[in-house]
């Protein structure tokens, strides 16, 4: 038992938590943007997958991890534009479009992967650097946990901060939230709510593309496998809801998801790996139940407050 505990609360678990959480967090902060803009975006999984493939393909084609990231982000912008074209401009049902995007991404990346890399998937592309910071060696525990993380981990932290400032500290963030909550208000103020929705979709396309690149070029050494997003987009959506679409809270939710993923790895020695792999998803369900109960309680509390006032 002591053995298990020391294994769970180890620097390796911290490292694994951060590594597992990063792609989910990246998608979740993008999803927070569309959520604020009033779009129920379940298409993040497809967006991640596209990013993963085009990151790998870009690296393969252009011969550099950063170039791969560039191509993936460019495609991510296009995917965001495509999503907004259907959802915002043509006013199609966002749920259907999200589903379609996911299915489309699986088909397209699968087909392209077979054509470009062959049936065994792509391997050995130039990856993005992992940072080995010498000062971390002098910090006990934490240093070991943070050592050797992908450069995208640090970019994620930066993006969380930037998007948080964007949403809560700039006028544009106010417009974004108004576009989701009461679009007519924004329209009568002389600002187009549709524009804010387009911007949110593009931002989401970008962060999801980076999430995908993290999978193919960040965490793995330049590798693409079919359907490698592996439902992370849905988990990211759960994190968005759990974090009330606040980028910082969504990041924390992703960390929690990452921790339970890492926990699963620790438990593999004791329980069937098939069961441990289910842990993050079970946690997701529990998270959702909690969200529903919380919102019910809040509604009741706010009503009581009204009665007192």
């Amino acid at each position: 038992m002591h053995d298990l505990l020391s294994r769970i609360f180890s620097a390796a678990t911290l490292n694994e938590t951060l590594r597992t959480a990063t792609p989910v967090a990246l998608a979740a902060i993008g999803g927070a943007m569309t959520e604020h803009a009033g779009i129920m975006n379940i298409g993040m999984d497809g967006m991640i997958l596209m990013g993963a493939f085009f990151g790998a393909y870009g690296s393969f084609l252009l011969g550099g991890g950063w170039l791969g990231l560039g191509l993936a982000v460019a495609i991510g912008i296009l995917v965001g534009l495509l999503f907004a074209l259907f959802v915002v401009k043509l006013k199609a049902d966002e749920f259907i479009i999200g589903c379609a995007l996911n299915t489309f991404a699986i088909g397209l990346t699968g087909f392209l992967s077979d054509s470009v890399f062959g049936y065994n998937g792509g391997k050995g592309m130039a990856a993005l650097p992992k940072l080995r910071l010498s000062f971390l060696d002098h910090i006990p525990f934490l240093g070991k946990g943070l050592q050797g993380l992908s450069v995208l981990f640090y970019i994620t932290l930066l993006l969380v901060l930037v998007l948080w400032l964007f949403v809560y500290r700039t006028p544009y963030g106010l417009h974004l939230r108004a576009a989701g909550e009461k679009p007519e208000t924004l329209r009568t103020a002389g600002i187009s709510p549709e524009k804010m929705k387009w911007i949110a979709s593009i931002l989401c396309g970008i962060t999801c593309a980076i999430a995908g690149v993290y999978l193919s070029l960040g965490d793995l050494e330049g590798n693409f496998a079919k359907n490698m997003s592996n439902s992370r987009g849905y988990v990211a959506f759960a994190c968005v809801i759990f974090g009330s679409a606040n980028p910082a809270k969504a990041y924390l939710a992703a960390l929690m998801f990452g921790f339970f993923g890492a926990l699963g790895t620790c438990l593999q020695a004791y329980i069937s790996p098939d069961l441990t792999a289910a842990i993050p998803y079970i946690i997701t369900i529990i998270m959702m139940v909690y969200v529903v109960l919380r919102s019910q309680r809040r509604r009741r509390l706010s009503h009581r407050k009204e009665q007192v006032a």
């Binding site: 417009h175 009461k182 103020a189």
Partner: protein, 517 residues
């Protein structure tokens, strides 16, 4: 020589299949309060939406301060000093007052960041300047409707409005709030030289506040008058296109036996909170009991409980001597109760079904409409529906079209016609004329009064105090699910009633007992 603030020059607006505004020419003078009246669908709001740039007119031009509008967008309108308070408020509920007020012209720090301190400062200064006191840091969704309206006005003022359009501003206000709003309007006009356009269909408000009045009917501007030179009755006739006789409705007969009695009734709302608290009331044959309450004070839940749409937590309901608490709507209707629900679209009609089907439903199982194997006899149904259609003066493209194609007033007549046709001993009526125009109101009121005179026991709930006053034999005020007083219409003023509707309890001894008998 008066300055012209806005000039409409042969303006027409056509939506697919509807000519909403037909060749309207009108000048609004600077510094006046101009009232725009008309029945529902007369095109008042559309005309103002054009001025605010929400649509581009099909024909004609609009001139603001001597300049022709070339671009129609809210942004352009705001730049020209036009502000609009919409009928349905344009506020973000989760934002603070200040955030709503400054939206689209936010004060900034370092050019990029929202400066909430400056926003609250500016909002506070503005609210003091105009006497519209409201806390800048309060969350809008938690404010009362009256305060939300203040925020809307502040928002327009913050954007530098010189001309303020108010679209049916008093529809949601208590009499006290209306008085306050009018004093604000007078103040901005007198002290700041603002121009105000007020859309309304309450004619006494026109008399109370406006300098001139424009009357619209079926998309056309029928007349423009100096308010002082017309009476309310003349205005009503102009609006409807024929004389409207706002006569005292004839009452006859004496209240009879108790038909509906509720005792210590407690009902919960959808959130599981107490909406009706140990309420008791009784209703006699041949009387109309009016319920006056501000929305959300338990009146909806009370009526739902009485009609079987909502379960009762405790207490009893008797309908014609039978125990009715927690019975199904069908059982309650069988006991002798008909119900005109508050929301005709949600619970009053089936929009997609035909007018005939909507008139029939409830008696569709009657033998005269039923053939073998449950076959519905179309010819007798048509004959029956035609009869009601004519008797209730429903105007539309006949009984075969879908109910949803009727206008609001005619749709309401369908509901009234059906529920009156059951000839039940008890009739529960909620918001009988909400969003219905003057002509139809007159007709519906007459029908209700006829039912009363025939000896039906009627419970009436309406957000329109005038209506409650006009029809009721007795009025009870409801606040947070409790009765705060009982009155007869000729012994109390409307303003005083508002006092009880906001939670003040009638002090005289025995007032409460009088209700329970």
């Amino acid at each position: 020589m008066e300055e012209i603030a806005v000039r409409f020059d042969h303006v027409s607006m056509e939506f697919p299949g509807v000519l909403a505004n037909d060749d309207i020419s009108l000048s609004i003078r600077k510094g006046e309060v101009f009232a725009l009246v008309g029945e529902n669908g007369a095109g008042k709001s559309t005309l103002m939406h054009l001025l605010y740039g929400m649509h581009t007119p099909t024909n004609g031009e609009i001139w603001v301060k001597g300049e022709r509008l070339t671009e129609y967008s809210p942004k352009a309108a705001i730049q020209r000093g036009i502000g609009m308070v919409h009928q349905h408020f344009m506020l973000v509920p989760s934002f603070s007052v200040a955030q709503n007020v400054v939206m689209s012209k936010e004060p900034r720090k370092f050019k990029l960041f929202y400066d909430w301190k400056a926003a609250e400062e500016k909002t506070r200064a503005l609210s003091q300047e105009y006497g519209l006191s409201v806390d800048p840091s309060a969350i809008v969704g938690e404010l009362s409707v009256g305060l939300q309206q203040r925020v809307e006005i502040l928002k327009a003022l913050y954007r530098g409005a010189e001309l303020l359009i108010l679209d049916e501003p008093t529809a949601v206000l208590t009499p006290q709030e209306t008085t306050e709003l009018f004093s604000v309007i007078r103040r901005v006009v007198r002290e700041k030289g603002m121009t105000v356009i007020l859309i309304t269909h309450k004619l006494y408000e026109v008399k109370a506040i406006s300098d001139r009045v424009g009357i619209m009917r079926k998309g056309r501007l029928i007349a423009v008058k100096d308010t002082a030179s017309v009476t309310e009755r003349e205005l009503a006739s102009l609006m409807v296109g024929r004389p409207v006789l706002y006569e005292e409705l004839e009452r006859s007969g004496q209240p009879g036996e108790i038909r509906l009695a509720a005792k210590d009734l407690t009902v919960y709302d959808n959130r599981g909170l107490t909406a009706v608290k140990k309420l008791s009331l009784s209703l006699r044959a041949g009387e109309i009991l009016g319920i006056a309450a501000i929305e959300g004070n338990g009146q909806s839940e009370l009526l739902e409980a009485l009609t079987g749409l909502r379960s009762c937590a405790s207490g009893s309901i008797g309908i014609c001597g039978q125990q009715a608490a927690n019975c199904t709507p069908g059982e309650i209707r069988a006991m002798g109760l008909a119900h005109i629900p508050e929301d005709r679209l949600a619970t009053g009609v089936s929009k997609d079904a035909s007018v005939a089907e909507n008139l029939l439903v409830g008696r569709h199982k009657a033998p005269e409409f039923r053939g073998a194997l449950g076959y519905q006899k179309q010819s007798s149904i048509a004959r029956y529906a035609e009869g009601l259609f004519e008797k209730f003066d429903i105007r539309g493209a006949g009984i075969a079209v879908s109910a949803g194609s009727l206008s609001g007033g005619n749709l309401q007549k369908v509901v009234v016609a059906r529920e009156c046709s059951f000839d039940t001993p008890v009739l529960i009526i909620s918001q009988p004329t909400r969003g219905v125009d003057v002509g139809a109101i007159e007709f519906i009121h007459k029908q209700i009064m006829d039912k009363r005179n025939e000896g039906t026991a009627i419970l009436l709930c309406s957000a329109d105090l005038d209506e409650v006053f006009r029809l009721s034999d007795r009025i009870i005020t409801l606040y947070e699910g409790e009765i705060t007083g009982e009155f007869t219409p000729n012994t109390i003023e409307k303003e005083e009633l508002g006092y009880y509707m906001t939670g003040n309890r009638r002090k005289e001894a025995g007032a409460h007992e009088a209700i329970t008998h």
